[in-house]
Amino acid sequence: MGIGNKTQGPLTPAVFAVLLALAENDKHGYAIMKEARTPQGGGIEMGPGTLYGTLDRLMRDGLVEESGVSDDERRRYYRLKARGRKVVAAELERLQTAVKQGRALGLLPDGARR
């Protein structure tokens, strides 16, 4: 089953981090890895093998594409497609619902007061 079919289900941390990193703008491989490492990018440490394996599957599923822009023969840039944007938005909504529940249960501080 492709990742694009899982719009209702949770994404793997690597897929989520890559899609989230590309939601901001087109990025090359290392920029995605770097963004994924940040807390706001998902806090995922991934190496080149995991990154390009994930990108390969995301491209096959039509969520990401190569932008065609390159500042170096080896440095390819990737872009989020509309379908990929929908998938990452659905995942964020799912997480937001879980966070709301966490707040309601007192597991997290109330975001409005912070």
């Binding site: 491989g29 290392y30 995991t50 390009y52 599957r57």
Partner: protein
């Protein structure tokens, strides 16, 4: 870039050759570039990055090889063809066992049919039932010789050429009921533990109504059936093995086209 970093990159470039060819062709260059970028990233501590790189290399290597195998061998047409061939070979193997088994089993009745018919005819033409089965001493547990047993109309033994553990066994009453209605029955009869007999039971009419049972041990026939079963089993496993090897080879030969189409 330092000489140390260049050495690491060369080593990584060699290691990348272990990835599946299609993946390597698509991403080896960008992966080397990502490594180069990481090595020049001052925010990243080297030991932490090398540990990550090592872990990432092995996990993604395994993952990509599995993905390649899945893409190569989980193609519906390949799986469907293999399953159809496996189904055909299973039916053929079953036929290879069932047909000779039936021939052997029905052939095991041949002399008994003649013996039972003759004995029944003799009794109906006036021979005393107790004399229709000439005295014999066939040990049903050991002998392969055919034998005749005569029963009265109630299914009680009247005369017998064979004994089992010193007594004359009788088939279940249901067999006699069936023969009373249909005239004849051919059954595999187990008069005792480990003793199986190919029995033909005929109805006897006339002045001395009753039944004639002609039987013969199935021991040798069942040995032959076991041989046929073993041969059919070996043939089946052999064909399944060939289908597996053929499917793997076909999947491998056609893998590039499939991967290229998927990308």
């Amino acid at each position: 870039m330092s000489a140390h970093s260049r050495r690491i990159e060369r080593l990584y470039a060699r290691a990348l050759r272990l990835y599946p060819r299609a993946f390597q062709e698509s991403y080896a260059g960008p992966m080397r570039q990502a490594l180069r970028d990481a090595l020049t990233d001052s925010t990243l501590t080297r030991p932490r990055f090398f540990l990550l790189l090592l872990r990432d290399f092995f996990t993604s290597l395994i993952k990509e090889h599995f993905a390649m195998l899945r893409e190569t061998y989980s193609r519906p047409a390949l799986v469907f063809n293999a399953l159809v061939l496996a189904g055909i070979s299973t039916v053929l193997a079953l036929a290879l066992y069932a047909i000779p088994q039936q021939v052997l089993r029905t052939g095991a009745n041949d002399p008994q049919i003649q013996l039972a018919t003759d004995a029944a005819a003799r009794i109906e033409s006036g021979t005393v039932p107790s004399e229709a089965a000439a005295t014999g001493d066939v040990d049903m547990a050991r002998s392969l010789a055919p034998f005749v047993i005569v029963y009265d109309d109630e299914g009680r033994p009247v005369a017998s050429q064979a004994r089992l553990n010193g007594s004359i066994p009788a088939p279940p009453q249901g067999v006699f009921r069936y023969v009373r209605e249909h005239g004849e029955e051919r059954v595999s009869w187990q008069p005792g533990s480990g003793v199986r007999v190919a029995a033909v039971i005929e109805r006897v009419g006339g002045a001395h109504p009753g039944f004639v049972l002609a039987g013969r041990s199935l021991r040798e026939v069942e040995k032959r059936e076991a041989q046929v079963r073993a041969m059919a089993g070996v043939a089946w496993l052999g064909i399944l093995g060939l289908i597996l090897v053929g499917s793997v080879a076909f999947g491998w030969i056609t893998r590039k086209k499939a991967v290229a189409a998927a990308v």
